[in-house]
């Protein structure tokens, strides 16, 4: 399936081959013809056509245009827009009409993007499978029967279906990178604090970030540049010779043979580009899963405290189970988890980024897991499965580091994605390197048959 890209759309708009209004009309027809709202939660055509018309008029009158002028986008259902409904993936009783607009949406508006709707998400952004108790699960276009990943499930699916070139998501424990990996698209979680969280739904203030899921690295960095207020570069540069680290094995134990082979392929590609490969012991990252979870759950339970006490039955089974975990987390445990975070940050700065410019890790252990196994899990089993899906994304979250999820190989069962992680503020370098590793979306099972 070919994906729609921002540069492709802008070329057509600039050449006069289409208009923002025509792009939106085409989308409306395609979405209506599908006969299902999924992966969307809400479509807001009226306002979108107004935005598109303004963009077309500005283009006709040769007025200055923003970098995303006329590009249609939809976003995870957790960002306020004044006068519009925001639902957070929750029970209908959790919906509200926003009294203001999220700063990230204001920045996208100013850049000329056309916002036409809200996308499905895990309930309150809790859950890496993409399953939502109230609204079900959008279908993964890249892995038949596979979970779409969450919590930015609809964002990953809409990009993977070729409906939009990019969609905003949020990432607290892997919620951009997991659905990106499941659907074979790019996901870019920025450094903690780079993108403002104003009027976006909170989950865990120590780890919450907002970023794009996108059809390509170029699409992702264009959007990130806008929502970060220009703090990152929109366009790529050839990366200098880099020191790129891989784990010696302790942290990435348990990955599939084909993921191991994909890592080996990537090592070969990077060496071929002249980069220096560094083998480091990242075993201590395995010890960050529980601290990251403890911080996330304790803070999420605080965010939800009043609502959970008032109407616990409006929460889905899995989310209520995760929030119930908070009863097993003492104040000392939370503070200890924060201390572990500080220690891991110091060790990462010294042991990892003292020896390497960037790190490459798996995104998932393999392709997206099948939905059947996850949907029927209950109780403590859910917590274990969730930990399993986010084991490789948690370090980037708790450490507050920028990480880009990139599909690097397509098997007949679906895409395999790696993460490129760097020190705080290294978004440009990460994206520059990622652009050199983008591959065709063709199955390559034969090449990945032999584990490294």
């Amino acid at each position: 399936m070919s994906l729609v890209t921002i540069s492709g759309l802008l070329s057509r708009l600039e050449a006069g081959e289409t208009t923002a209004t025509a792009l939106l009309s085409d989308l409306q027809s395609r979405i209506t013809a599908r006969g299902t709202l999924s992966p969307f939660q809400r479509l807001e055509w009226e306002r979108a056509f107004e935005q598109a018309d303004l963009s077309d008029r500005a283009r006709r009158e040769r007025k200055p245009l923003g970098p995303l002028a006329g590009v249609p986008m939809a976003h995870k259902d957790m960002f306020d827009r004044k006068g519009s409904t925001v639902g957070f993936g929750g029970h209908p009783s959790a919906r509200k009409t926003a009294s203001g607009t999220a700063l990230v949406l204001e920045r996208l508006d100013a850049a000329g993007a056309v916002d036409f709707g809200r996308l499905q998400m895990s309930e309150f952004a809790m859950g890496p499978t993409g399953q939502n108790h109230h609204y079900g699960m959008p279908e993964n276009p890249a892995v038949p029967g596979g979970v779409p990943g969450g919590s930015s499930s609809g964002s990953g699916v809409a990009v993977g279906m070729g409906l939009v070139p990019a969609a905003l998501g949020s990432d607290t424990g892997g919620s951009i990178r997991v659905p990106a990996a499941c659907n074979g698209v790019v996901g870019f979680k920025p450094s903690l604090g780079l993108v403002p969280l104003d009027r976006a739904m909170p989950l865990s203030w120590t780890q919450d970030t907002i970023g794009p899921l996108a059809a390509s690295v170029d699409c992702a960095r264009r959007v990130l540049s806008v929502i970060s207020g220009g703090k990152t570069r929109a366009h790529g540069e050839t990366p200098r010779r880099l020191r790129i680290a891989f784990d010696r094995g302790g942290f990435v134990e348990g990955i599939s043979d084909r993921m191991r082979a994909a890592l080996a392929e990537t090592r070969g590609a990077l060496a071929g580009q002249g980069h220096d490969l560094v083998s480091l012991d990242m075993g201590f990252y395995a010890d960050l899963t529980e601290p990251a979870n403890v911080i996330a759950i304790a803070e999420a339970a605080t965010v939800h405290a009043d609502r959970l006490r008032d109407c616990p039955e409006t929460y889905g089974t899995q989310v209520r189970a995760r929030l119930a975990q908070a009863a097993g987390i003492s104040a000392q445990a939370y503070l200890r988890a924060r201390q572990i975070r500080e220690i891991a940050m110091a060790r990462t700065a010294e042991e990892i980024f003292g020896a390497a410019d960037l790190v490459i890790l798996p995104g998932l252990a393999d392709v997206a897991p099948q939905a059947e196994a996850l949907v029927h899990a209950e109780g403590a089993e859910i917590a274990r499965m969730i930990s399993g899906m986010t084991g490789f994304t948690r370090p980037g979250s708790i450490l507050g580091l920028p990480v880009l999820s990139l599909p690097v190989a397509w098997t007949s069962d679906g895409p395999l994605s790696l993460q490129i992680m760097g020190p705080r503020g290294s978004e440009d370098l990460i994206a520059d390197l990622a652009q050199t590793l983008e591959t065709s979306r063709q199955p390559v099972d034969a090449a990945l048959a032999e584990p490294a």
Binding site: F284, D287, L288, T289, E290, P291, N293, V294, I297, A301, A305, L308, R309, D310, P312, R320, A321, L323, A324, Q325, A326, A327, G328, I329, S330, A333, R336, A337, Q339, I340, E342, I343, A344, M345, A346, R347, E350, E351, E378, G379, A380, A383
Partner: protein, 66 residues
């Protein structure tokens, strides 16, 4: 545990919810309080003058005791 859950949920917890909280407490013991990352300075990367120095102060009884 039951009291904490009742406060959290605004009602008495189910057996399943109690099991989840107990499981989490066990995971906290193993993954937080027994975390190898919390070992005190000496052989590890922690330095009393570093940003993690405050951690050493959380256990004033680690050395020099009678």
């Amino acid at each position: 545990m039951e009291q904490e859950l009742t406060a959290l949920l605004g009602r008495a917890p189910s057996e399943s919810e109690l099991a989840i909280a107990r499981d989490q407490r066990a995971r906290v013991e193993a993954g937080i309080f027994a975390s190898p990352l919390l070992e005190l300075p000496g052989d590890g990367p922690l330095r009393p003058s570093g940003r993690c120095g405050a951690l050493a102060g959380t256990n004033p009884f680690a050395e020099g005791g009678a």
